[in-house]
Amino acid sequence: MQAFAFEPCELPAGADALRADVRAFLDAEAADILVPARARSWVGFDADFSRKLGQRGWLGMTWPAPFGPGRSALERYVVIEELLAAGAPVAAHWIAERQSGPLLLRFGTDEQRAMLLPGIAAGETYFCIGMSEPDSGSDLASIRSRAEPAEVNGEKGWVVNGRKVWTTYAQHSHYMIALLRTGEAGENRHGGTTQFIVDLSSPGVNVQPIRNMIGDEEFNEVTFDDVFVPDTMVVGEVGNGWRQVTAELAFERSGPDRFLSAFALLKALVAVAGEKPTDAATAAIGRLHAHLATLRTMSLSVAAQLDAGAEPALEAAFVKDLGVTFEQSIPEIAHQVIGASPRIDGGSDFEQALAYVQQACVSFSLRGGTTEIMRGVIARGLGLR
């Protein structure tokens, strides 16, 4: 019998007060963001805003002292969902705070933690993820960028050569957590890779923004020509990269960013329906509301389980797959019930949000594993693979 663990979770006592604080902060710091910018959601880049979040102690909330206040994952969840629902620009610190920090806490060295965590928590040190390569997208195990052991000026380390691609905001990041080949893949194809902290200011690193079809430069290509990375910048065990990455991926699959990326458009749809209510728009909004409420409950349940040390990989995959399907349905539904012809320069808030999300949403299902990959994870969880 398939049993899916979505035990309900109660938000901790201080959650409501925290929520009110974040909303007050947003009213003060992000009130003037226009709807089209809010629609960009977590690809909105604003270093100043990230720094202010750091000052409020809202970055690295769950990290143990001395790096963070050690608050619960559910308290962090409240902050994150409020920021995303408001479409606040969280891109600068996003990867560092959500993934790189926790990776270092789990697999990093004391030296690494001391060097990097404070900057992340302050909203000043930004990370990107170096995994995909031109010939290694979904098939991550086939990466070819290499790190060879070497010694330079008496310091032990590694020389890195290769190419990473689709690296979000590498052009604004200080460091990359790069998954590089340090040995043979071996029988199960998952061996021989290692995670490194690469200082992107190092000589031999070349970051090339890739303009996307909307005109933004979110993805980058990063090439390494004999880049020296000291031994002290290896994360966890040499050769253990795959396991460390998969643990990291499961963690980031179920957050509110998996179903709130199109929230600004949903909100604009409710506003438009208010001005000119039709049965079709009203019913569509009722349906989307039910879907969103259910997704949030599922996501909160997974966050509580992760907080308690569990690893609900199947449940996290459900949230991601349902979440991205929900997000990608919103522009289609808006088109069906409102049928406006979105103009991208002077159009209404609704039109601008629809134009942006219609184009951006096709990329929502690429992060953290395509739809086919996610459904493969679910099929494995059902015992079919």
Binding site: H291, F318, A379, G383
Partner: protein, 325 residues
């Protein structure tokens, strides 16, 4: 799940498994009341789980009743258990005495009269009157017999009228019960599918090895998971004092949509065997199609919920979503 609820679930699974076989289904679906099954249900007090203790019930909440209703859905129980549970809650809440005998739910029909599931077997029907919930005897009722796609009795009473109210708590309680039943039936259909695709061999390997089948069952599993969470979330909301209509709307919309998708994928994956009478799947899928459209289909509830969300306005969309108890 708390131990207590796990125990309830176990009891229900064992009871329904013991009581139900093809003969009971065939008899029930052609109009014979499954008396043994019903007696086992009442002896275990399952029908009175939401009745206050001082009135002879277990005095438990919807989140406990949800465990019984999900199990009833899993086993496609052909008996008025969901109706009795919801009736017990409605009367308990209104301080109305729960009579003996089978109590079902009555909701107004387009064109007059009320529809009472299992009306021919029920002694009473709980209806929403002008001045609140009432328990109406069906003794003198002119009952017309009919059945839904699940071949469960869906009878109508011509000479009993009930004012059609915008917010009818009987309809909402029925919708919440159906949401839990659908979550259970969809989960059971998924189990059948996983077992079938791992056993059925074509082209030299179990069909579960084909990526197209895996991706479809992954979609089905996501829908089953969402239905379960939506139903339970709504039950918790009502237990915490939340509005029954808001809770039922969200659950019926999400679980109803999941029911339709799960039933269709289950049949596509099973192929011809799933279409036969002898194979168990149809007891679940026919009821999923039927239950979707009872006590308000997704479209009705989506219109109702959408009107409220639009009236509250865009700025309240997020606060309301996070503000619910």
């Amino acid at each position: 799940m708390t131990e207590e609820r796990a125990l309830i679930a176990e009891t229900c699974d064992r009871l329904f498994a013991e009581q139900l076989d093809e003969n009971v289904f065939t008899a029930a679906e052609s109009g014979t009341f499954p008396q043994d099954l019903w007696d086992a249900i009442t002896e275990n007090g399952l029908d009175r789980i939401l009745v206050p203790e001082n009135r002879g019930g277990s005095g438990l909440g919807w989140e406990d009743a949800q465990v019984v209703l999900v199990a009833a859905g899993r086993h496609a129980v052909p008996a008025p258990l969901a109706e009795a549970i919801a009736a017990g809650w409605l009367l308990g809440r209104a301080g109305v005495e729960l009579p003996d005998g089978i109590v079902s739910l009555g909701t107004p029909m387009v064109g007059g009269g009320i529809e009472v599931p299992w009306g021919r077997h029920a002694a009473y029907g709980v209806v929403q009157g002008a001045d609140g919930v009432r328990c109406v005897s069906l003794e003198a009722a002119e009952i017309t017999h009919d059945r839904n796609i699940g071949r469960d009795p869906r009878d109508s009473v011509a000479n009993l009228d009930v004012p059609a109210m915008a917010d009818d708590p009987v309809r909402a309680a029925g919708a919440l019960a159906r949401s839990c039943q659908m979550a259970g039936a969809a989960a059971a259909a998924l189990d059948l599918c996983v077992d079938y695709v791992n056993a059925r061999v074509q082209f030299g390997r179990p069909i579960g090895r084909f990526q197209a089948i895996q991706q479809q069952l992954a979609v089905m599993a996501s829908e089953v998971a969402a239905a379960g969470v939506a139903a339970r979330d709504a039950c918790r909301t009502v237990d915490a004092g939340g509005d029954i209509h808001l809770a039922a709307a969200s659950a019926k919309i999400r679980a109803g949509e999941a029911a339709g998708k799960a039933a269709n994928i289950a049949h596509q994956v099973h192929g011809a065997i799933g279409f036969t009478d002898e194979y168990r799947l149809h007891h679940l899928t026919r009821r999923l199609w039927a239950w979707r459209s009872e006590f308000g289909a997704e479209g009705d509830w989506a219109g109702w919920l959408g009107a409220r969300v639009v009236a509250r306005g865009a700025d309240n969309l997020w606060p309301d979503l996070t503000g619910r108890p």
